[in-house]
């Protein structure tokens, strides 16, 4: 009680400063943890003199990152453009299938259980068949990534369409809106939050799909670079490629998450 009275008495500037200090405290602990881990690894690699093939020190990875910056950025740009294309394609395909399911009960009953089963099956095992189908090029990576990543979007869109409030649907019917109109103008916007839940899962799956496709067959791309570096036992280069891949992956994920926050703020205030 007295603490509350005290904090109410201090000026807004002081409170803002306090907020900043708390934010710094919350961010400092995780950042410090990562920093300590990196330093410990560096010292360990140096003291134990681990062979670089087995375990390159963080500073060695950083050197590899700087030295190969241009090569890495070329391959990363190639991989990331495919990841983005796969994400857009799986959004379109996932939402389109979910729309067909919502519009027709019969088609829903015929195919929905199949898709649920397919969602559980380890589709990763399909990677080599896409090479047989599309050849060892970008198309096969794209196809494979879409095949992995449209399921969460489909599931999210279906959940979103089904969650639309019955009252809103009834109101649409009373206003003589057609099924298609209801779907586009009412159900789709209301499904956006669920759709974003699916899209976030999808983003990670897209990256996995493209990189694994490049493992199996490629002539360029980050996945190809990693396999090449592994064949030459250039462990520092593998880790450098992984750092680049992770940075881009987190960037795309962050963009999707920011979109989600923006949509939620607009919808729910």
């Amino acid at each position: 009680m007295s603490a509350e009275a005290f904090s109410a008495a201090i000026s807004p500037e002081a409170r803002r400063l306090e907020g900043w200090r708390r934010f710094a405290g919350e961010a400092a602990l995780p950042a410090g943890f990562i920093l300590i881990c990196l330093v410990a690894l560096e010292i360990l690699a140096w003291v134990l003199a681990v062979p670089e093939v087995l375990f390159p020190s963080p500073s060695r990875v950083l050197t590899a990152l700087v030295l190969n910056a241009s090569v890495l950025s070329y391959h990363a740009a190639l991989t990331m453009s495919q990841v983005l294309a796969a994400l857009v394609l799986s959004l379109v395909i996932g939402v389109a299938i979910a729309m067909v399911f919502t519009l027709s009960r019969v088609i829903n009953d015929m195919f929905a259980p199949l898709f649920v089963v397919l969602q559980i099956v380890p589709k990763i095992a399909l990677a080599p068949i896409f090479v047989v189908w599309f050849g060892p090029g970008n198309l096969s990576h794209l196809g494979f990534a879409v095949c992995l990543s449209f399921f969460p979007i489909l599931a999210g869109a279906r959940a979103g369409f089904e969650e639309t409030s019955a009252e809103a649907v009834r109101l649409c019917r009373a206003l003589r809106a057609g099924r298609w109109q209801t779907l586009i103008h009412v159900k789709l916007p209301m499904a956006l939050p669920q759709l974003f839940v699916g899209a976030k899962v999808s983003t990670t799956l897209c990256i996995i799909g493209v990189v694994l496709g490049e493992f199996v067959s490629a002539k360029a791309g980050i996945g190809w670079y990693i396999v090449q570096a592994a064949a030459l036992s250039q462990t520092a280069n593998i880790l450098a490629a992984l750092v680049v891949l992770s940075a881009f992956g987190l960037l795309i994920y962050g963009a999707v998450a920011a979109g989600e926050i923006a949509v939620r703020r607009r919808m729910f205030g």
């Binding site: 995780p30 080599p128 047989v132 969460p152 493992f215 990693i226 592994a230 593998i238 992984l242």
Partner: protein, 267 residues
Amino acid sequence: MIKQSGRAQRILLPLLNCGAIVLLWQLAVTERWINPLSLAAPFEAARVAVSSFNILLPHILATIYATLLTFVLSSVGGMLLGTLLLHWRSFRLAVYPSLVMFQLLPKIALAPLFVVWFGVNILSRLSFAGFIAFFPIVLATLAGLRATDPLVLKLCRSVRASPSQIFWQVRLPYAVPLIMSGLKVGMTLAITGVIVSEFVTVQSGLGYIIVFASSNLQIDLMFAALGWVSLIGLSFYGLVLLLEHLILKRLGAPIPAGLSRPGEAGP
């Protein structure tokens, strides 16, 4: 729109549809509408799956063994770490952001590195698959243990329940749905990690058979192996579902209707 279709329609339609798809697929391959080098006829693949069972058996067992061991190790480790994170606040604050970040990273890309570290033996496969399956289980356990109704916790404290009583009789039962959700993701990721690792190590297992068959253009064998992989994946997922069902029933909790939710989709 909201009305449910009849039970018969919901069960019969998908089965009939499935049968029709398989027949059409068979017809498309045997009538050469599709190049048989790119798609195996389903009956032919099923015949190979049964007739070459003797050759496939050691690989099926290798995949099953690695998957189960990975799942058990990563779920035990994941739940223990999740519990530790619940009780040790400063450790949680320090580690939690890194855990979330690791969950989002495309860890599959590390597969070749595990070969450099552990070679091409089972240890390499187990550690890689465990590394992939571990993170969702930790985060789900922590989220579940923290999802207890605060009012219930307050009540427990007011009747002087001991911390261990609170954990075993209140927090843990409340956490079951989220933990099981994490275990489902973990199971899918365990088999995924094992298969990818078999792709890369090329020693044994169904992943090895798939790569081997595709490079030899033995499409029938490849689809036979794919069939076995799907069967194993579905039955293991079914086992986790069964476990969830049994535990929730024992606790008298509501049992979720769907097979899987958007967040539980695996690669």
